[in-house]
Symmetry: C2
Subunit: 574 residues, 2 copies
Amino acid sequence: MREALINGSGAASNDVSALETLGPAAKLTDADPSEIPPASGPSRENAVTISDILERRAKAGRLIAPTASYSDSDMFKGPQVGKPKSKSMNHHLSSESLSRHPCALKQAARHLKNPGIISLGGGLPCAEYFPIESITLKVPTPPHFSEAATSQSGAEVRIGKYDTTDPSIQGTYDLAIALNYAQASGSAQLLRFVTEHTELVHNPPYSDWRTCLTIGSTGALEQTLRMLCDGPGRRDCLLTEEYSFSTALETAGPLGLKVVGVKMDGQGLLPEAMDELLSNWNPEEREGRRKPHVLYTVPSGQNPTGTTQGLERRKQVYEVARKHDLFVIEDEPYYYLQMPLEESKETGSGTTAAKEGEGEGKEEETVESFMSSLIPSLLSLDVDGRVLRMDSFSKVVVPGSRVGWVTASENIIEQYLRHAEVCNQGANGISQVILYKLLDEQWGHEGYFQWLMNLRREYTKRRDTMVTAAEKFLPKEVVSWTVPVAGMFYWLKIDHSQHPGIQAGKGILEVEEEIFNSCIARGVLVARGSWFRAEQDTEPNELFFRATFAAATAENMTEAIRRFGEAIRESFKL
Amino acid sequence: MREALINGSGAASNDVSALETLGPAAKLTDADPSEIPPASGPSRENAVTISDILERRAKAGRLIAPTASYSDSDMFKGPQVGKPKSKSMNHHLSSESLSRHPCALKQAARHLKNPGIISLGGGLPCAEYFPIESITLKVPTPPHFSEAATSQSGAEVRIGKYDTTDPSIQGTYDLAIALNYAQASGSAQLLRFVTEHTELVHNPPYSDWRTCLTIGSTGALEQTLRMLCDGPGRRDCLLTEEYSFSTALETAGPLGLKVVGVKMDGQGLLPEAMDELLSNWNPEEREGRRKPHVLYTVPSGQNPTGTTQGLERRKQVYEVARKHDLFVIEDEPYYYLQMPLEESKETGSGTTAAKEGEGEGKEEETVESFMSSLIPSLLSLDVDGRVLRMDSFSKVVVPGSRVGWVTASENIIEQYLRHAEVCNQGANGISQVILYKLLDEQWGHEGYFQWLMNLRREYTKRRDTMVTAAEKFLPKEVVSWTVPVAGMFYWLKIDHSQHPGIQAGKGILEVEEEIFNSCIARGVLVARGSWFRAEQDTEPNELFFRATFAAATAENMTEAIRRFGEAIRESFKL
């Protein structure tokens, strides 16, 4: 056990094999994670480096981007030499999206760049009436990320109202800008950071890629679905993993979309199964629904199954997407929580040095080695421009900022912005200026990667606590799992066939509910597997529970797993 | 001129009368603003007072509302003695809205109130990994609101990560809560404040009213339209003022809604015109569109016309809504920017004392007199529960928070929340905790009202600067206006019939564009009236420009109006 891994690019299984954990469809492919080659995607060759970025910035000089000024990624990208342009994806767009036009008032703002112009145009309040003179943050200094270290050696970062116009400060971003209205794309300041970060990590293989900020991936997904899908009019479906993020399913349903689940194995979505499904699609057998043209997938630490697609798997998924002309929504909140099993064996749990994030692990991990260890994204494989990637700060900085970003081709981002202008006006400025000050000015790209490295060490320890508890307290005769190599979820398969209730004719949902209630009574809350079933209108034939190792302390997590084990034993009369 | 007004409840006109300013339909009603009685709505009788609120809070003790905890307005409202329940408005809901169910994961959170339960349920990150130890704000101390006073005597307000669980602080809200995920309704802490504020100001006349936070009124409007309207399926229309907020129009269009404009006069929307329109609605003459059942209106300082509905007008609008079973979306970003003309004459412009907001005006305005001077809202007249009111912090605190709130009946708010859970997860926590600390803990209700009083004094001065400039620089033979008594917009009617181009056969849009471009060339940006036309598919027969007095300095505003006057003179060959 746990011997398989390899630079975060595969999955390991406990004594119940990954093939079996997710059911018979797994047999369509060879999913033994130990056979997955180490990650080495196209994006690391000719990769842009942090030094390139710093050089580019030095050449450009101080970024001047006053209130509500227009910006886009092209202002911050490096030269896209030798890359083709994206292919048009306009045939995927819904009639709602195609009928959108730019906001008249936002468009008028382009005249504001004329020297000396006085605006009586937009209804932007005067910064004089913003009742906040300054915001001061106390934040960690890389690589001293722990709460204790921050308390001792953290930095005080001040954001004043007029930092950009005060000649003695010459700031790049300030409260007068951040507290006012802004463009839906996000502020130039934070857009620059995420554009550069995206180029550093993904370096999309076509030239006209862009990013824009979002109000978080929840909102980004709803916007994207409305942009690409038309349930009532076009009879659209949405493809996704057979178990998928419940909120995503709850988003798709009311839009009139039929969600279609694709079989999975220990590495998540099965390309062969998707190919077969699409090749044999017959609208007449599908209530008149046309063949799906949009896939929603979570390649790393998938919610709820915790599975991670290796590089080869991603390439196969992308090839099937090309073959059937799918547009792909790549939702990657857990991308940086890729947790190699090797490292987890070495760091163990609870050593203070590692906890402090001082980089004192046995093998000195560098930013370069960290970046190389990440499995390449679908975005980095996307030669066509058929992927929209959703990134999030929720799992790696704070969820309460409600700020994320999307990356796709210029055309797609333009359509996205047309919708954002009327449905949310983009991310809030207060969070943007705080994130900018922390990530860009205080930490920089290097410091942010160090933070992410620290975070994945922490999550690795948490996962290992859960592995230990599960091995100790769960009855293996009925509970099995694959140790996740990314994310924050543990997916527990229960062999319902051995359950006395099932044997006496009860349904799976009924048994699931009994166990769930028994868990609540014993003082542990877990998520029911049925909440995540893509096709809610079919009968389940498997029984799962999802447990997260993200939140509880090590002690509580262990106790919670003990209680869960007790509930299972009682229910199965073991 | 400017002699008419009276407690913010009417509108005054310059030498071109209000009746004429907005065209012939105005003649349907008597809109002479001087005849409007002073505001005295139902909401000030039996009104809840700030002392009532303080007493209620003292009884309830410290608010305990940890991470992602459920809350609703009923926890914070006073007794609703003698009020009827709202009527069901479910027949207004779209099929999209009716198909929504509560989020499985959010629902599961209700088990978290069980003592001793350990959650492995939701994917909430651990606060230990939030890289912000504290946020410190510098903010004004009432009533010393000016920037200079804040710099000298402002308060430092600190928000720590664990203020609520630190026994030495016993805080109500902290970063560990605010930076994590939360309920879509908003945090209990800020929800309490806006619920109490709503009760103080509007005291809705039915018992089961509720509020919930929003991501700002832009997003709230899109959500509400999708909740109430169905363009493609039900062939719905949206009623609104004949000139309306351009972003609202741009929101409705792609949803397949046909926008239908209602004639206006100097007090905004004309109830008789709306009644006539609805009484004579014939789907066959309207491309098969069914009779409109939703009205979107901005009663105070309407955008773009700057008109304000007096109390009698509001009552009439509400009665027509009842007669035709309309659901009303009341969008009130400018509600507190009601600017009595009397006061503006007294305070004049530029006196330092008034600018400092020290309350040294000639007549001592009290919080009570301020509240009594506000024209009652449609919400406060709404005995049926057919109004959804949208409130915003954008114009009165900061737009960059992207936080507002809506008030409506319990059923409507429930449907709103079902949508919010999947389309944005509610307002961001960083802005919420900052607004809470400022408005609730630092200022309290009393201090916030003082802030609003200060703000309306400031806007009154700004409006008066524009009045003075307009009277000095605009050629009255072709430009006319009504002095606005609320909001931030000046609506300038141009008598196109005198234009040489029009006389030579040019179209109004062509002349509008020429003048707009001439303005840009002369260094002033104004908004074109045609951007705001509700029915974009008809030919315009009037010519307007909108100017805001919200943003530019007095000097720049005056210069900008001078340039605008120059552009007009040149275009008209005066």
